[in-house]
């Protein structure tokens, strides 16, 4: 193409390469060292080894942390997506006094510093005798994740022809039938994307979980425990696995959000 500037093109490519390098170099490093037999991460590398993976595989603490993370993640995904859908549909469907206030409030949680959020959650949950339970982590993560779900589903609803809903009513579908047969099918890709993203956010969330989890620590909280005790390449192994699972969820969500209008099957 004649209208592209070569220098700008090259600069942009360098820029992107540098960004990716800074983001992924530490993660890649962690991954490389997780397969290194040496105890300390240093060059030159030692022999190839899956020793650290074997160790975490055999560590019951890692397994209990993983189980907690999984239970919390799955439950939070469902709850946060349901809440997010409700919020997004309310925004799509109704106009009422104070709507912008309602929206601001609903989308507020991610903007609150996590330490403050964690402390507030801890104070509140211990007051209602829920502190230190798995449920407390679910509640805290549910609050933090539902705005993400709401944002994703809201975006999808904004792409919907508002006549679709009225057309369904006009053809004999009452409000519940229309919700089930029109709104939910239309937003389905966004609903699944929200499930994956909220699960990923919950998987990775550390600070609030640290405050409220008590003995039911999730994996990120466990990892901190490891770090405080000793420097072990097991952390590299766990980190690599956590990274792969989070990325898988995010990529799945991205695939769902891309071209939702493409013919199915």
């Amino acid at each position: 193409m004649g209208n592209e500037n070569r220098i700008i093109n090259i600069l942009l490519k360098v820029h992107i390469a540098l960004c990716l390098l800074f983001i992924f170099a530490p993660i890649a490093g962690s991954f490389v060292f997780s397969l290194n037999s040496d105890r300390f991460p240093s060059l030159p590398l030692g022999e190839f080894s899956t020793e650290w993976y074997r160790l975490i595989w055999e560590d019951p603490l890692v397994w209990s942390g993983f189980a907690n993370t999984l239970i919390v993640g799955l439950t939070v995904a469902v709850i946060a997506t349901a809440l997010g859908f409700g919020g997004a549909y309310t925004d799509f469907r109704y106009n009422f006094f104070g709507k912008s206030f309602y929206l601001a409030l609903a989308l507020l949680p991610p903007t609150i510093p996590v330490v403050i959020m964690g402390l507030a959650m801890l104070a509140f949950l211990s007051r209602v005798n829920l502190s230190g339970t798995t449920i407390s982590v679910i509640i805290a993560h549910g609050v933090m994740c539902s705005p993400f779900a709401m944002a994703i589903i809201r975006l999808r609803l904004s792409q919907m022809d508002p006549d679709l809903e009225a057309a369904s009513w006009n053809m004999g579908g009452n409000q519940w039938q229309t919700l089930r047969h029109v709104i939910i099918p239309f937003t389905k890709p966004a609903i699944f994307a929200a499930l994956f993203i909220t699960m990923a956010v919950s998987f990775d969330e550390f600070a609030v979980a640290w405050f409220v989890s008590g003995l039911n620590e999730t994996l990120p909280v466990k990892i901190l425990g490891f770090l405080q005790g000793q420097v072990s390449p097991r952390i590299n192994a766990i980190g690599s696995l956590a990274f792969i699972s989070s990325m898988t969820l995010i990529i799945l969500a991205q695939l769902l959000l891309r071209n939702p209008e493409e013919p199915k099957s």
């Binding site: 022809d161 057309a167 009513w169 006009n170 053809m171 009452n174 039938q177 029109v182």
Partner: protein, 373 residues
Amino acid sequence: MKEAIDMTGQPEAFVKFENVVKRFGNFVAVEKADFEIGRGEFLAIMGSSGCGKTTTLRMLAGLEDPTEGAIYLDGEKVNGKATWDRDTPMVWQSLALFPFLTVQENVEFALKMRGVGKEERRQRADKWLEKMQITEFANRNINQLSGGQKQRVALARALVTEPKILLLDEPLSALDAHLKVRMQAVLANLQKELGITFVYVTHSMSEAFSMADRVVIMSRGQIEQIGTPEEIYREPYNRFVAEFLGSANIFDGTVQGPSGDDGWDISYEGGNTILPRSELTDAKQGQSVTFIVSAENMQLSLPGSGQAGIEASVAGEEFVGGTAMVFLETSLGQEIKVQKSHDELSALDLHAGSKVIVHWASENCHVLPGETG
């Protein structure tokens, strides 16, 4: 009410609007709509955007509730009755087909909402797919169809419950001109064949006049005139309708006195004319009167021919199929439209700036009853 409703050939009113008013906050969308629609009638509601035509249709569909007045559907007052409890399917301007369903599923939708079983749904949908000639696309996705095919799906989807009335909100506005004419024929034939009531909202005069039995003309929430296309074209009720139709010249005059036994002497800015008593039965001297003369009833003569009339000069010419529309300007700045065949015009040898005399026969004058008083 502006005019007595002529229900000739339509003995039974299927829809009745009784002094219906619709306000959105302070904005009056529909003002005192009071008319009836006959069973099996094809009624077009016409007007420019924001005139209240779509609101009128949506009230009939149950998507808006009237602020005042009553709407009767098949004898039953339907104010406050939810749209899903009425059988008033609508064909939408956006078509509003469900993109996540196949053609077949779209057509079956209304039956599914009514709890019709799977087998019966399929059979009834198949019948309409066939009728609209879209059977071969039954399993396609909506976004794989052309504009005309989508239109047919929308019609099949609306008609699958075999309703007594079909509401259409500018359904053809997205189609190209050629397809528009074809779909007009499809719609007109379908209405005749089914014998059900069609209420068709449009801003296009050609659509309304070519398909409808009667036309309602609306502006700014008011109904300006109701009548057959013929009536409206020949006898527009007021200035708005005459201007909307666009092919008539409007003159504001004053009654000077009787002219013989069968007419009135009228003076207007730039000339005098005679209005027949058939148009103006009773008048007082000094009374103002507005009348129109349609462009095709205007006559042209060359100056010096001795013909009395308004002197004007040619401002421009527009090609209209087998005829041409000549735009004239009088010395007072009034624009006059004259529609003539090309032969007639070439005999006059007109070009921009040519002086001509415009005149008309008094029987071709039509008084606007809504403006006279």
